[in-house]
Symmetry: C2
Subunit: 198 residues, 2 copies
């Protein structure tokens, strides 16, 4: 393990990881995604930047751990499209529901959505942190011409579901079982993936 | 015009209307919809409750004026369904876009959505104030059995569009012209209105 050096910098103690995470959370919340740097987080935590890389890897990795994102969104698109476009909407929706329907996993995600809606830096978190990590790979798979439009339309339906089912918790949607949600919403998402939109 | 009486209450001057609106905005924002009363708003503005009714009518009316809601949501559902279910989704979407695509009309609505997402009282505003006024009539028209589910599914798609196009302003959706949005999204909403969801 690398050792921090210099004035006011602490060595890598068991508390260091927590201090870095706290610093990252504050920085992402206050400054958004783009303006948060590994160097800035390290300075705020009073450690060497190398230690941040050592514990957490890249800024994307740090973002996902700091915001307690329970699944790695970078793994979603490859998994959803591994078997092709047929049934991709249902696979995306079931992956989404398996995370959000778990009250413990849902909690940090709802906090992220609330933060994202409440101001500029939160918006950056959602746009640069989340949209990029989840939807950019989907956009790529759908192709450069129609991908951006199709992926964003998928995002409208997913976000709307998040808001009504998990943030506002409106009934009957909040208590509807996963199969019923899939039956109602998967055709919408499948059309946005592969259907005629004109 | 009725005259306010009693200690600390002002008569109905040209400023009274503004004072009532200010008091209503603070009360709705701090306490949400349900806990805001005409009597409470009157007390905060230092006027007689009768004056609030005189200027603004019901609590629903006061809510719509105080939050600068640019169209009366109670008129939307009857208008959309006057010609029956055929084409209802496109009529709803075009009504929605005609309001939200206007930057001036959009501003107070985006503020309401941000407030609604950021905390309890804001959530009450959206749920009791907005969902009830816009979606309850739609629910009623769609019938007691499937209406609640269908209306909420419509709400997911509309909210998602609000978030992506008007709050996060993601491209290409933010700049897409109304006809292209209608072509992409109306079939989703029409299916939620009248299609097979099982």
């Amino acid at each position: 393990m690398s050792r921090a050096t210099g004035r006011g910098r602490r060595p890598g103690t068991p508390d260091t990881r927590g201090a870095i995470l706290d610093a990252a959370r504050v920085s992402f919340a206050e400054s958004g995604f783009a303006a948060t740097t590994i160097r800035g987080v390290a300075a705020r935590a009073g450690v060497d930047p190398a230690l941040v890389h050592h514990y957490f890897g890249s800024k994307d990795d740090l973002f996902l751990v700091a915001l307690q994102i329970p699944v790695d969104p970078r793994e979603i698109a490859p998994k959803v499209f591994a078997e092709g476009f047929d049934g991709a909407a249902e696979r995306l929706l079931r992956t989404f529901l398996s995370v959000w329907d778990d009250p413990e996993l849902r909690q940090p995600l709802v906090a992220l959505v609330r933060a994202a809606m409440s101001g500029e830096s939160g918006q950056g978190l959602l746009e640069e942190g989340w949209m990029r990590l989840v939807f950019a790979p989907i956009t790529e798979i759908l192709g450069p011409e129609e991908g951006p439009k199709r992926a964003e339309l998928v995002a409208t339906q997913i976000f709307g579901l998040v808001v009504v089912r998990y943030v506002l918790c409106l009934e009957p949607l909040a208590s509807m079982d996963a199969d019923e949600v899939v039956a109602a919403v998967a055709p919408t998402i499948q059309r946005y993936f592969t259907g005629d939109l004109s």
